[in-house]
C-alpha cells in the first residue's frame, strides 16, 4: 500500500460510494415484497437485509476475481477510466432512486465502464455482441422467466390453499417470505459487494499498489461489505414503494410466490451460466404475481416507466462516464472538476429528494395524484417528521394502505 497515489484513493472512495448506492438501490429487491405485505416491519426488514448483505460479502471472492482477473485487462485500464465509469454509475443510481424506479446497478456499472472505455480508447474497444448477449437478452429474459414462474406459482398457491385457515396461512406465508427474502439478500451480498471489491482490486492493480492476479486485500473486502450493508440499511424507500406497492397490490401469497421465484431465478441463473439481473428478476416476479391472482392488476404505466429506465440505464451511465472521462483527460484539474461535480450533483439530488421524503414511515402508502387528501397528508407527514419518531413506525407498519387508492389510478405520485 506504499505507492498509494491520490487518484487511487479517489477511485477507492468513489467505488465505495457506488457500493453504498448499490446497497440502497437494491434493498427493494430483497425486501419490497416483505415490507409491502407486512411480513416484516420496514426497519427490521432492512436491518436483516443489511446483515445478510454483510455476511454475503465474506462468503466468497469468486465474483470479485472474475472482475479483477482478466475480464478487462486487455484494455490497459487506468484508474481515471474506472473513476469516470463509477461517476456515471453513481449518478444514474441516484437519479433512478430519486424517481423511485428500480433499475439494475450492474447495468449502470457496465454502462459506465463502456462509456469511459469508449471515451478513452474509441468505439473499437467495445464488443457489440457481448453487449447483446450479456445485457440485452438477459434484460428481456429475466422478467419473463421470473414473471412466468411467479404467475404459475401464485395461481397454484391460491388454488391449493383456498381451504386453509387464514391464521395458519398468514403465519406460514410470512415465514416463507422472510426465508426467500433472506436468500436474495445473501445472494446480493455475494454478488454486488464483490463487484465493488473487484473494481477496487482492479484499480489497485492498475495503479500498481497490488500485484496482478492477487485476491482482494482484507481491507477491501471489509470496507465493501460495510458500505453495501450501510446502504442497504439506509433503505431505498422510494424504490421499495414502487416495487412493493406501485407495480401491483401484493397479498402474502403473492409476495411469497414472487420472492421465491426471484430467489430461484437468481440462484439458477448464476449457477447455470446465464447471469440475470436481480432487479429485473424481482420486478418481473412481482408483476407475474400480480397477474397470477384473480382480480390482480399490474399498473402498466409504472411498469412502462420502469422498462424505459432499464433501457436508458446503460446508455445514460455510459454517456455520463464518457463525458467524465473526457474531462478527466485534461489532467488533474479535470479529475478534480469531475469529483466536485459528482459531489455537487449527489447533494442536489438528495436535496430534491427531501421535498417529499419517503422513509420507513410511509413506504407502504401508495398515494396517487387523483387523491388530493392522501397527498396532503403525506406532505404534512413529510414536513413534520424529518427524523421520524419511533412510535410512528409501528403505526404505519400495522395499518395497511387504504384500499381506495388502487387499481387504474395513474401512479406518478409514487415516484416523487
Amino acid at each position: 500500500m506504499e505507492s498509494f497515489s491520490l487518484i487511487l484513493a479517489i477511485v477507492v472512495v468513489t467505488a465505495l460510494a457506488f457500493d453504498f448506492t448499490n446497497g440502497f438501490h437494491d434493498t427493494a429487491n430483497a425486501m419490497a415484497t416483505t415490507i409491502s405485505t407486512g411480513a416484516m416491519r420496514p426497519k427490521a426488514a432492512v436491518a436483516m437485509s443489511a446483515v445478510l448483505n454483510l455476511v454475503g460479502a465474506f462468503l466468497s471472492v469468486e465474483v470479485a476475481n472474475t472482475i479483477s482477473k482478466g475480464l478487462v485487462d486487455e484494455a490497459g485500464i487506468r484508474p481515471e477510466v474506472i473513476f469516470a465509469a463509477l461517476v456515471g454509475a453513481i449518478l444514474w443510481n441516484l437519479l433512478t432512486w430519486l424517481v423511485g424506479l428500480p433499475s439494475s446497478s450492474s447495468h449502470a456499472l457496465m454502462g459506465g465502464l463502456i462509456g469511459a472505455t469508449v471515451a478513452s480508447a474509441g468505439f473499437g474497444a467495445v464488443h457489440g455482441d457481448v453487449l447483446v448477449t450479456k445485457v440485452l437478452i438477459p434484460a428481456i429474459a429475466a422478467p419473463l422467466v421470473a414473471g412466468l414462474a411467479a404467475m404459475f406459482a401464485t395461481r397454484l398457491t391460491y388454488r391449493m390453499g383456498r381451504n386453509a385457515e387464514a391464521k395458519a396461512s398468514e403465519k406460514g406465508y410470512r415465514a416463507g417470505q422472510i426465508a426467500s427474502a433472506g436468500l436474495v439478500s445473501l445472494a446480493h451480498g455475494t454478488n454486488d459487494a464483490q463487484k465493488t471489491m473487484g473494481i477496487i482490486t482492479l484499480a489497485l492493480v492498475a495503479g500498481g499498489a497490488v500485484a496482478p492476479d492477487s485476491d482482494p486485500p482484507m481491507w477491501v473486502i471489509l470496507s465493501a461489505g460495510i458500505a453495501i450493508a450501510l446502504g442497504t440499511y439506509l433503505g431505498g424507500w422510494r424504490i421499495i414503494r414502487t416495487m412493493g406497492k406501485g407495480l401491483t397490490d401484493l397479498q402474502p401469497q403473492q409476495g411469497f410466490a414472487a420472492q421465491t421465484s426471484a430467489a430461484t431465478v437468481i440462484l439458477a441463473s448464476s449457477h447455470l451460466g446465464f447471469s440475470l439481473s436481480t432487479t429485473h428478476s424481482v420486478s418481473g416476479a412481482v408483476m407475474g404475481a400480480g397477474l397470477g391472482r384473480k382480480g390482480g392488476v399490474v399498473r402498466w404505466s409504472t411498469a412502462t416507466r420502469m422498462f424505459v429506465a432499464w433501457g436508458l440505464t446503460l446508455p445514460a451511465a455510459a454517456l455520463v462516464a464518457a463525458i467524465a472521462e473526457w474531462v478527466c483527460g485534461f489532467g488533474s484539474w479535470g479529475t478534480a472538476v469531475v469529483a466536485v461535480f459528482l459531489v455537487a450533483s449527489s447533494a442536489a439530488i438528495w436535496k430534491i429528494s427531501r421535498r417529499e421524503v419517503v422513509d420507513h414511515t410511509n413506504v407502504n402508502d401508495h398515494d396517487t395524484p387523483a387523491e388530493e387528501p392522501a397527498g396532503v397528508v403525506t406532505q404534512a407527514i413529510a414536513a413534520v417528521t424529518p427524523p421520524p419518531a419511533g412510535p410512528s413506525e409501528d403505526l404505519s407498519a400495522t395499518i395497511p394502505a387504504p384500499p381506495a387508492n388502487d387499481p387504474q389510478a395513474p401512479s406518478a405520485a409514487s415516484t416523487v
Partner: protein
C-alpha cells in the same frame, strides 16, 4: 454472435419447475397445519396431516439450505 440458448433454456426450465414445486410444497404444508387447527377445534387428531406438513416444510428448508450452499460455492 453466440447466444447460449441452452443455458437460457435451462435457467428458464429449472426456475419454473423449482419455483412452482417449492410454492406447492409450502402451500401443502400450510394446508396441513390448518387442518390440524380445524381438527383440534373439533376434538379429533390430525397426526397424518401434521406429519405431512412438517415433511413439506423440511423439504422447503432443505431447498433453502441448498440455496445457501450454492451462494457459498
Amino acid at each position: 454472435m453466440k447466444i447460449d440458448w441452452a443455458a437460457l433454456g435451462s435457467v428458464f426450465g429449472v426456475s419454473l419447475v423449482v419455483t412452482v414445486a417449492l410454492v406447492a410444497l409450502f402451500t401443502l404444508g400450510i394446508t396441513g397445519l390448518s387442518r390440524r387447527e380445524r381438527a383440534t377445534a373439533e376434538g379429533r387428531s390430525a397426526a397424518l396431516a401434521v406429519t405431512g406438513a412438517y415433511a413439506c416444510f423440511a423439504a422447503c428448508a432443505a431447498a433453502v439450505g441448498y440455496g445457501i450452499y450454492l451462494i457459498m460455492a
